[in-house]
């Protein structure tokens, strides 16, 4: 299991489209992916769950991945956050 802290840098936070991008990326991996914020733990392969975090810009989340491809999964998801989900400033 890998745990990694990620910062939400994009202006809009984890809105619907950003959440959908995470799910799309997460579903490509077989590992179990979980996002955690303030004790609320949600499935990284569920768009509803991610939106329930109501994570705004500046929040930090913990990214957990558990499975055979956990390293790649975390790296791929981290990229999405760093890339601000392709949002233009």
């Amino acid at each position: 299991m890998i745990k990694k802290e990620v910062l939400i840098e994009n202006q809009l936070g984890l809105h619907a489209r950003a959440a959908a991008q995470i799910v799309k990326a997460a579903c490509a991996f077989s590992s179990k992916i979980t996002l955690v914020k303030d004790g609320l733990e949600v499935d990284g392969k569920s768009v509803m769950g991610i939106m329930m975090l109501a994570a705004a810009k500046g929040c930090t989340l913990m990214l957990h991945a558990d499975g055979s491809d956990e390293t790649d999964a975390v790296a791929r998801l981290e990229c999405l956050f760093k890339d601000k989900f392709g949002e233009k400033e």
Binding site: L40, E41, D43, S46, M48, M51
Partner: protein, 294 residues
């Protein structure tokens, strides 16, 4: 679990100590000190301190030096916040609390505030799953993503059962019961792959959803794996532990041709029967033993 002092702003009026609004309350216990007794003050716990009207009157009745001494002692205990009910509030208390950054509130509804604390500090956990109330029995459906939990829930709603939460289920312990509900943001919504997010209440009416439900059964959906053993008779009853409470649990293997909603509905009916003491597996076992004994 913690509640921040600022969350009390909706319950009571803030008089001083704005700087301390980020302080955390960890216990729902409200301490009501008797300022006239020095012994009791020593036992005071640092949480929420409630000054009853009589205590305010007592403070006012004292000469200034004694009053200041008591107030200093109270503030030094470093309570998360002080709540005052009834009567005028001593200016010295406000000044000292302001300096120490301890919020002081005034309210007429201490009961409401107290209930808010109890509710906010109840043990809580969130799980990935779906909660449906089936014939009044809160049934928590667990399983990996895309195994068909939401689809099963939709089927159950079509059969007249009620959706309580989809995807994120917040579970709270209330006495010996585990109460499940949805985060406000997700109320009435269900996510079904291919359809997206649908509003069950708008589609099927108010009776199709319920705000919260006591969890009486946990069903875990799992992909059917060859060689794995699944319960054949149902004689052995398994439990799933949530916040220290054991809840009847069963694992249902998913396979094409098995209608999950039907199986879950039957599981709920069966659980309700078991509560009434009717257990089909034990019944069969009894009949068989009788026959074998001749």
């Amino acid at each position: 679990m913690t509640v921040k002092v600022k969350e009390l702003m909706e319950q009571a009026e803030l008089l001083a100590g704005r700087a301390g609004l980020e302080r955390e309350i960890t216990s729902p216990q409200v301490c009501e000190p008797d300022l006239s007794s020095s012994a009791q003050q020593k036992n005071m716990v640092a949480g929420v301190v409630h000054l009853k009207p009589a205590q305010g009157a007592y403070l006012r009745s004292l000469a200034r030096p004694e009053r200041s001494r008591l107030i200093r002692a109270l503030v030094k205990k470093n309570p998360a916040c002080i709540v005052v009910t009834g009567g005028a509030v001593s200016q010295e208390l406000l000044t000292s609390a302001e300096k120490a950054g301890i919020p002081v509130f005034k309210t007429k509804h201490l009961v409401r505030l107290s209930r808010f604390l109890v509710e906010g500090l109840r043990p809580k956990v969130s799980l990935h799953g779906v909660l449906v109330e089936i014939f009044g029995l809160g049934t928590l459906i667990l399983g990996e993503s895309a195994i068909g939990k939401s689809e099963a829930a939709l089927d159950l709603v079509l059969r007249g059962h009620k959706l309580a939460a989809d995807d994120v289920v917040v579970l709270e312990k209330n006495a010996d019961a585990i109460i499940g509900s949805t985060p406000d943001l997700a109320a009435d919504l269900l996510e079904v792959r291919g359809l997206g997010i649908i509003n069950v209440r708008a589609l099927y009416g108010t009776s199709a959803t319920v705000g919260s439900s006591a969890v009486g059964l946990v069903v875990e959906l799992e992909e059917w794996k060859k060689g794995r053993h699944y319960s054949l008779l149902g004689l052995r009853e398994r439990r799933y532990r949530i916040l220290g409470v054991n809840i009847p649990y069963l694992k249902l293997p998913v396979k094409p041709g098995r209608t999950m909603a039907t199986l879950i509905e039957v599981a709920a009916r069966n659980q309700l029967l078991k509560k009434k003491g009717i257990n089909a597996a034990r019944e069969l076992d009894r009949r068989l033993k009788r026959r074998l004994a001749g």
